[in-house]
Symmetry: C2
Subunit: 228 residues, 2 copies
């Protein structure tokens, strides 16, 4: 369903070139549960942005459902993204002047869902991440982990086929983190494709079937779980 072919992402910094990704090949099948791991600065979030069509590569091709998306316009990318991809950002990216509930309703507004439907779905999702009693709080009135859970709920608003989660449990205690991971596994069993970036090797081993290990902008190795 998603393929990165010889992808590179370079940033020009004066007369220095930062190679965030430098020749990466990643192939993800529909219904996979994939983890991406690697040292800080190795290119994981950059990879996620490219996979999620939030950014375009400097070199190489990106295929989503066999379509080459590496040369689409921003508005064409937006169309695909809004319907198919749910993104949980490493720094959450919540809208500061919208409440938790409004933040979760926003993606549905862009897909033309009626108000009653948006409200009902947002309340279900808030209940799922155990934040029903915080729905009218603004992001700066929420704890770090509560903001992360709002970001998680928001990514599920349009029932996307592909969920990209950049360190989704980084700010959560073990119990809450496991609840989130178990829910992602449930979605995966229903056919959703899940790609997570995590620093937690135990978490990655427990829930995903494939782990891509990045180092210095390249894929260092791929480990696969063999069902016993």
């Amino acid at each position: 369903i998603i393929k990165l072919q010889n992808v590179a992402k370079y940033y020009e910094m004066g007369d220095n070139t930062v190679k965030a990704l430098d020749g990466v090949n990643i192939s993800i099948e529909k219904g996979d549960f994939v983890s991406i791991m690697g040292p800080s600065g190795s290119g994981k979030s950059t990879g996620m942005n490219l996979i999620g069509s939030l950014d375009l590569p400097t070199k190489g091709e990106i295929y989503l459902d066999k379509h080459d998306i590496s040369h689409l316009t921003e508005s064409e990318l937006e169309q695909i993204r809004g319907k198919k991809i749910g993104f949980i950002f490493q720094s959450f990216n919540l809208i500061p002047n919208l409440t938790a509930k409004e933040n979760i309703m926003l993606p549905m507004l862009f897909q033309g869902v009626a108000k009653k439907g948006r409200e009902k779905k947002a309340e279900e999702l808030l209940n799922l991440v155990d934040l029903s009693d915080r729905m009218d709080h603004y992001p700066n009135q929420l704890s770090g982990g509560q903001q992360q859970r709002v970001a998680i709920a928001r990514s599920l608003a349009n029932d996307p086929e592909v969920i990209l989660a950049d360190e989704p449990t980084g700010n959560l205690d073990t119990k809450t983190g496991e609840m989130v991971m178990n829910f992602l596994e449930k979605l995966n069993k229903k056919g959703k494709t899940i790609i997570i970036v995590t620093h937690d090797h135990e978490l990655a081993k427990k829930h995903s079937k494939i782990i891509y290990w990045l180092k210095d902008g390249r894929v260092e190795k791929v480990t696969k779980k063999i069902k016993a």
Copy 2:
């Protein structure tokens, strides 16, 4: 060195009161290495802000070096903070239009350190967190873990007596996280007081002597390491 006595922090939300902390007693000796753990939303960051004199309690007293700081003015608090306390925030709070190096130099500027001294110290700290090759990047040109490391370096700029770290390894891979924790342990051996919030029980057990467990705004229990 730091004491919270019957401290409460309430937020009025319309006709609802959110009790972020509801009667907390915490006593920290000079040179301690303390961890604070607990579920998401249990009051850890709120507690850290009060300990770090970044906020004032609704009820109760806060003592820093036996002085009751719960009734000082903002400018009096600023004085104490700048000299004595280094804070690593859960969401980093880097200044977006300053480079990594400038962010680290800023606290020293407030303490009247000369430019040469600020630059030298910032470069040492950047080297310590392995970011010498990123010193001229702006926060939005850094990975999540790199931003966290800049926040860590910045907290050490004025060589503070007390270091407060709110989930300092949340965005770091295991190896980089251990490097940070080992450095905090080194500072602790030199006499610094370290207080960290973490969701990583292994980390807390390995490095700290005392763990305060929060739940629903209260201290549920305290566990202490007994040297074998």
